[in-house]
Amino acid sequence: MARRALLEFEKPLVELEEQIEQIRQLARDSEVDVSQQLLQLETLATRRRKDIFDALTPSQKIQVARHPQRPSTLDYIQVITDEWLELHGDRRGSDDRALVGGVGRIGEQGVVLLGHQKGRDTKENVARNFGMASPGGYRKAMRLMEHADRFRLPILSFIDTPGAYAGVLAEEQGQGEAIAVNLREMFRLRVPILATVIGEGGSGGALGIGVADRLLMFEHSVYTVASPEACASILWRDAGKASTAAEALKITGPDLLKLGIVDLVLPEPSGGNHSAPLQAAETLKSALLEQLSELQGLSESQLIEQRYAKFRRMGRVLDSESPIASPSS
């Protein structure tokens, strides 16, 4: 098995893991019994890893969220569904590979699945445009969601993007319009919408498939109004202040839970989702099914009403005229 890429803050583990590897090598070459020693070292490594991951700063979480081996939309779809078919195209002349989707089945339940898709390596990332969707991607997503509405299939959306693509063509094709229409239309859909931030949620590009009845987020995922790098260079006039900005912007699951933006934070295996992708997918699947069964108890009009009410409450304002009427303050 190829060694996974280690992050800066995981360095204290390197030495330990090398030791473990050496002892394994030794055990293979000679026939000395090292199981006791191995167990000890492995326990220690597990504990250290847990300590490190329990104390991640927001900017470290960004690194985990952007880890090249972090499970992607297609990885999750394959584990969560019993079968599925990827569907292509926005029916307006493009098929964006940075935003994928299709129809699938989980047990007896038909669903529409869609999400941003990043690549694992440079070649894949070029093909996937680093998970930065174009207007065609958002229009493909909308077309799939319309399909879901028409056949009353719940929508499972997976968010994992640094942001919507910023390019001349994207502007010409109406990036703003494409996202805006999704925001509006998602309020109209008569089926449950569950969105999960599986990696990074970058601003409007994330929200464009994120107007959901329930918003889930993995423990080390982040969701930002603007990338900490951009925020640092605008507000601090110093791109080097990205980690300070990451701290200030409140981008982690627990912070967003407090602000009333996220509904549920899903625990990750120690070492992050990339260290145990199957376990992560199982966590996600059972959370989605649980949320879905709750939502399926609602009528269509209740669903739409509650979705509106949920977003209606978001924001913090001071109302000097009628302090009581002010939402969620």
């Binding site: 910023a166 502007e171 996202i179 925001l183 929200l207 933006i261 509106y308 977003f311 001071l318």
Partner: protein, 291 residues
């Protein structure tokens, strides 16, 4: 992200330069057009909706001036005048958000970056929202989102059209994700207004970018813009960095968006009120609202 450009532009070009010019020309009695250098009496400029008579340049105007140009005299009834921003993240960059709010409030006399209310325009009822760029670049935080949402909800209940004059760098970073969610909140309110088969018109002015473009600016039944207004989703600098090449001529101007099919019509500010009245009438708006 597009705030990038905004700040860059602001540093490069403007206010300081213009202010000195004005002072040289007699403490604001005279005004020199930044485009064609025509010097005119400030009073005359204001009387022409702050549009240069020489070259047609549309100077930026604030919310009171805008309201005066659209609402019939004395008809504007402001809404939610007591809504002010909080500092939910206790945000501090080089300066604290609380200080920035206070400064903007003092220099503009506004509590936040949008003024909303119900008025009559050419006798017709209208729900009017006007963003004010002077207040932290017209950026959209919780107050902007809440006031626009309430405006749209009121319009839906009263069955009247909505006009929102956009002037914004996008979502306000100092309120983090709460700002981003205002995009969804306002869009949701617009969906209900739309379901009620009522007319919504955004007017895009210099500049309309970022999260405002990716929500209510682009959701109009008809989308109107002022000549040469900067309109875009991503900032120019961000795009230049991505592409490492020069941007096309006229990129992200109102004319460019019209030519690519995203703006219905570019309307000169001096003709806007008359155009608005025609459009409202064509869409069945009448002086008395049916009960």
């Amino acid at each position: 992200m597009s705030l990038f450009d905004w700040f860059a532009d602001r540093q490069k070009n403007a206010p300081t330069v213009r202010v000195t010019q004005e002072q040289e020309e007699g403490d604001g009695l005279w005004s020199k057009c930044p485009e064609c250098s025509l010097v005119v009496y400030r009073k005359d400029l204001v009387a022409n909706a702050s549009v240069c008579k020489g070259c047609g340049h549309h100077n930026r105007i604030d919310s009171p001036e805008r309201i005066a140009l659209i609402a019939d005299p004395g008809s504007f009834e402001p809404m939610d005048t007591g809504l002010s921003p909080t500092d939910p993240l206790a945000f501090k960059d080089r300066r604290s958000y609380a200080d920035r709010i206070r400064d903007s409030q003092q220099s503009t006399g506004l509590l936040d970056a949008v003024v909303t209310g119900i008025c009559r325009t050419s006798g017709l009822p209208l729900a009017l929202g006007v963003m004010d760029f002077r207040f932290m670049g017209g950026s959209m935080g919780s107050v902007v989102g809440e006031k626009l949402t309430r405006l749209i909800e009121t319009a839906t209940a009263r069955r009247i059209p909505v006009l929102i004059v956009c002037a914004s760098g996008g979502a306000r970073m100092q309120e983090g994700m709460l700002s981003l969610m205002q995009m969804a909140k306002i869009s949701g309110a617009l969906e209900r207004h739309r379901q009620a088969e009522l007319l919504y018109l955004p007017l895009l002015t210099y500049p309309t970018t970022g999260g405002v473009t990716a929500s209510f600016a682009m959701l109009g039944d008809l989308i109107l813009a002022e000549p040469k207004a900067l309109i875009g989703f991503a900032g120019r600098r961000v795009i230049e960095q991505t592409l490492r090449e020069k941007l096309p001529e006229g990129f992200q101007t109102a004319e460019y968006l019209r030519d690519h099919g995203f703006v219905d019509a570019i309307v000169d500010r001096t003709e806007f009120k008359a155009t608005l009245a025609s459009l409202l009438t064509m869409h069945g708006c009448r002086e008395t609202v049916p009960a």
